[in-house]
Symmetry: C2
Subunit: 264 residues, 2 copies
């Protein structure tokens, strides 16, 4: 096998269940120290859910009072009206309604089921009521903060991506995609380059961070307790960019403007 063209993914062991206020960088640092290594020259993929929990983006359904619109939609779609209320609070626009699901465009511009508000894998509150986990408010900022915190602990250079599992039109099954990025370009653009036979490539801009997210998803089984995956390889290392002094807002490059989208 070609060593120069290879990639290795490994899950970070021993990351505990996350509570609001937990220091994720310290927990990830502890995980890597246990195997006596630094995270450098690669991409750390972190499941959105632990970012959201650490940032306190959790709501007990007992604390939610559904609006009239939420009650009506919940009845129509056979959902918990308190869940629908949270979904609507995260939603800029409802794209489609289907059985038990709302496909929403979030305030950040992601189009996904239930605006990313998830009841599964969430801890149950002390009262026994389900707890909902909302997407981070600014996933690029979350990725940037984690990257900078890890660099302060001696790691780096590294990139961080925040991932979540999304459904897709037309195809069954979920695939992980990136919601936030720091330290690597979201898209690798081959447009204008020539292919092997000299023809200029027209539309080959690859969604690099979504490929990375999907790859990391292979090790993030829902029941496996593996919310963080380290991805490294010689060519990948060359794509790690210099650290800017603020979040890049890079994930917006992956969001197609509504007026160029054939499916909104």
């Amino acid at each position: 096998m070609s060593e120069s063209n290879s990639i290795r993914l490994s899950s970070l062991p021993g990351i505990p269940s996350i509570q609001p206020g937990d220091d994720l960088a310290a927990l990830i640092d502890a995980s890597t120290r246990s195997s006596q290594r630094y995270l450098a020259g690669g991409v750390l993929a972190v499941c959105q859910k632990i970012i959201s929990k650490a940032e306190g983006r959790v709501v007990s359904l007992t604390d939610v009072t559904p609006s009239e619109q939420a009650r009506r939609l919940a009845k129509e779609l056979d959902k918990d009206p308190r869940h629908v209320e949270l979904v609507l609070s995260e939603t800029k626009r409802i794209v489609r309604k289907g059985p038990e699901v709302l496909i929403c465009e979030t305030h950040q511009g992601f189009v996904c089921a239930n605006a990313g508000v998830d009841l599964s894998n969430a801890p149950t509150s002390s009262s026994g009521a389900p707890i909902a986990v909302l997407l981070p408010k600014d996933c690029d900022a979350s990725a940037f903060d984690l990257k900078r915190s890890l660099e302060k602990l001696g790691h780096g250079p590294l990139a961080v991506i925040i991932t979540d599992t999304f459904g897709r039109p037309w195809r069954e099954g979920l695939v992980d995609v990136a919601l936030g990025v720091a330290g690597i370009s979201p898209i690798v653009d081959w447009r204008g380059e020539q292919d092997l036979s000299g023809r200029t490539l027209q539309v080959t801009a690859m969604a690099l961070v979504d490929q990375l997210a999907a790859a990391a998803g292979l090790l993030m089984g829902k029941d496996a307790g593996t919310p963080a995956v380290w991805i490294e390889g010689p060519r990948l290392a060359q794509q790690i960019t210099n650290t800017p002094d603020k979040p890049s807002g890079g994930i917006s490059q992956l969001i197609r403007p509504a007026d160029k989208d054939l499916f909104r």
Copy 2:
């Protein structure tokens, strides 16, 4: 890093430009022999384009006479009418029309740009006319044949997936997906299992082969001449299934029926 929960991807070196009739299994076997190893306990991801070329699914545009419908559509969308003619021949239903692109449902059920008929990365014919590459007629059969041929050469057990780069609604950039599969289940279904907090997971069926395809895509740069990637890891090895005696038709599990699709 956890060795038990890791995955390694490596591109197969030295696979030449493929011509109709080439023996892909022999060429892949030669590539692995040069690094003195067998392909066993993992997944071989192969780019659709070399499968199509080996199977002779290439057409010179000089041999295509566009129909009246193709001419009309080509004018409307600013495309080559001969390309449109080939696209229509591969299409069951046009899902959307946009600038320079037709989003089509292919006869196999894939929804993708131009029914997968690609002019880029194709060899130019001796007359100088562009050559179009069509999708394989039955990608599961192609995957199965390649798997069986490699096993006859001493490799295996292994899985084979055929991959292509598809665009997505809502998100910019392409990501590789699987078009054909042999030797591994296309979907890992967590539904009915319980998550870390004991809640029953509702909708967590992961599109395993699409995750694998996207991961392999990280090493299949359009200009890199790396059409085959080997993917291996301890947990992955457990998912390689016994060889059936015919193609499984597995990829149909990834195709959402039109009547359950909110976007057709």
